[in-house]
Symmetry: C2
Subunit: 392 residues, 2 copies
């Protein structure tokens, strides 16, 4: 008798990973240049040179220093550097003591949810959303409550207000968004904050906003907004996975706003939750690497060029796409109601597009355009043929 939820999470294949595995096999079969694999969000732009330079420099340190345990919340020098970086970029006043260095945004999110949720409490997520939000929430004993989007794939705030109950403990927001690439405008964050403040008064308890920000730096117009400016009870989960193209290294941080209710306790609870999951410290070598690379990013302009190429190409062909202001995903409306059937039809043209159902919303496919631009160019005739299948 094993726990059913753990068994199910371990057995279920992510549709993204399945499509990527299909793609790998198909490339072997017919040649890699003939498969248009938009399945997975593995950064294609390499880590910036500062990463390998930092690694080479650090190799001169003594191994005991380099690879020893760090404090559980991370090296104080890194926490202070992150605090200073947030201050200089956003005017944010997050003391180093409220910055928890963790094994990527996934670890940060899971630890925040476990640190916040009592059994049966609810977490609201705006569809479309990253499928793991459900796993992390249910793993923490909570219930995920999806809220559908409006026609522009922004939160439907009327639906959001209806979804808030006295059991709501947290809300997850993700901008730029995976899977849609949509960026929340300032007005949406203001409205979100207003509604949450009102709900807190109405229900008489704190509701925490968890801002999942792995794509914060992948923004193609304007500057990123600082979510805690719009709502006090905010926890920011950041990752260096995409900004420094280090997704496999598992390094990021949680920043708890000092204005959050009981911020010190929230920090302790998320640290305690992480400890109980077996997190000891984020990888020590990489803590030192990202400290040396703070404020730097991989060459984001390459993603912007790909965005322009794919978004321009597909809208010209008549596809209906959400405008992707950031991240490296394009969300394309399916040409038939069943996105899975549409994704299957796309496969016939060697186009690998993830159906949107697992993101909490039917009727779309996700194209991850963190791929070589020449692949995008070569894929456009296949998209044209797909459109023609549907008489577009």
């Amino acid at each position: 008798m094993l726990p059913e939820n753990s068994l199910a999470w371990g057995r279920s294949k992510s549709c993204i990973r399945e499509l990527a595995a299909y793609g790998a096999a198909r490339k072997q079969e017919i040649g890699p240049e003939r498969v248009f694999d938009f399945s997975i969000g593995n950064p294609s732009v390499p880590a910036p040179d500062c990463v390998s330079e930092a690694m080479r420099e650090l190799l001169c340190l003594s191994p005991a220093e380099l690879h020893g345990y760090t404090p559980a919340p991370g090296l104080m020098s890194l926490r202070e550097a992150v605090s200073a970086d947030l201050k200089s970029r956003f005017g944010a006043e997050i003391p180093a003591e409220l910055i928890y260095v963790c094994c990527g945004a996934a670890a940060g999110l899971a630890s925040c949810l476990r640190g916040l949720l009592l059994p049966g409490e609810e977490v609201i997520a705006f569809a479309p959303f990253f499928p793991e939000y459900r796993v992390f929430t249910e793993g923490a004993g909570g219930v995920l409550v999806p809220v559908p989007p409006d026609g522009k794939l922004l939160p439907d705030f009327a639906a959001f207000e209806r979804a808030l109950t006295e059991k709501t403990k947290a809300v997850i927001v993700n901008t730029p968004n995976n899977p849609s690439g949509v960026v929340l405008p300032r007005e949406s964050l203001q409205r979100l904050g207003d509604i949450l403040r009102h709900a807190q008064r109405r229900f008489g308890h704190s509701i925490y906003l968890i801002s999942d920000e792995p794509y914060r730096e992948l923004l193609y117009e304007g500057a990123p907004l600082w979510v805690p400016d719009y709502y006090e009870n905010t926890l920011v989960c950041y990752s260096f996975s995409k900004s420094l193209s280090l997704p496999g290294e598992r390094i990021g941080y949680v920043a708890v706003s000092p204005k959050a209710h009981e911020s010190g306790d929230v920090f302790s609870a998320l640290a305690g939750a992480a400890r109980a999951c077996g997190y000891v410290n984020a990888p020590s070598f990489m803590q030192r690497v990202v400290e040396k690379c703070l404020g730097r990013t991989a060459d984001i302009s390459l993603y912007k060029a790909s965005r322009d190429l794919l978004y321009g190409g597909l809208t010209e062909l008549g596809f209906d796409c959400a405008y992707p202001g950031g991240a490296f995903y394009l969300f394309v409306r399916s040409l038939e109601p069943d996105a899975k059937a549409f994704s299957e039809k796309a496969k016939k043209h060697e186009l690998l597009l993830v159906p949107s159902d697992d993101f909490g919303l039917g009727g779309y496919v996700r194209a991850a355009y963190c791929v070589p631009p020449e692949m995008i160019r070569r894929s456009l005739p296949a998209f044209r043929a797909l459109a023609e299948d549907y008489g577009l």
Copy 2:
């Protein structure tokens, strides 16, 4: 309202870390050479050269390959190499598919417990034991049941048999042991296996043995035993933290014996539990480093020399010490019933020794001798003065 257990785990300071922090402050105050800091188990022998060589070589790979996501259970090449290593060293037949590469033994243990336990099920640990066993067990919704040792600090098997109930789901064994350094002899493992097989028949359900093996390679006499040879239902949690002196990098593996009951399901459940905790993959760069260093270790002979120096020195002074056949800990009987008071008195001689209470057993102190040998030599007069305080 935050979850009380997470808050408590986040707030409580480990007595080891507190003593280490006291030591750091004291060294600043009176000079590092005058403090005899045996508080913490941070490896003092540096990582072997193969580690920095592997790191330098790997830097020639493309960053996208080096730092990209790996499959959740680890790179298949590493899993296959671990499988081959276990086969060549122990004759063990663990297919790569049952090897889960994880973020150190702590992550492995926590994931195994979450993957195995239903709410309220019991986990038996043999005192003295690593304090985090309790946190991981309670975090997984289980109940930790300590079993006291016999006079030689080996498991008291009569007490063990009494502790087994129909709620027992798992037993944790740790050899060489932290905090005592004691190595379980073959006969103890045989007896353990016999008792567990009998209990399984008696209660009619599987009981899993979790073998926590971060110190497997730190053995000063004889060769390590392969625990699954003594009991079928075994999960081995291994870490490279001590063998390669990489404790901060968080890299290890779980090997599920293919003879374990429902081994495939056990593997899925632990993978699912890890996923729900936000584990994505073990750090990708370090996966490649340890693959290149499999079968190598830091220079263990340095720890053996320290073991001989400290064990010899203290027994000569009249202290009663468990014989430490492995790891880098010496467990010394307190000269008064209250180990905390004894540890405080030792502080007056600038000796930092961890009282044993948090290890589930009163009346001892732990000396971590992963320190420079000259510090051990300089500490002996302080131990002599401490003994004289008690008229030894």
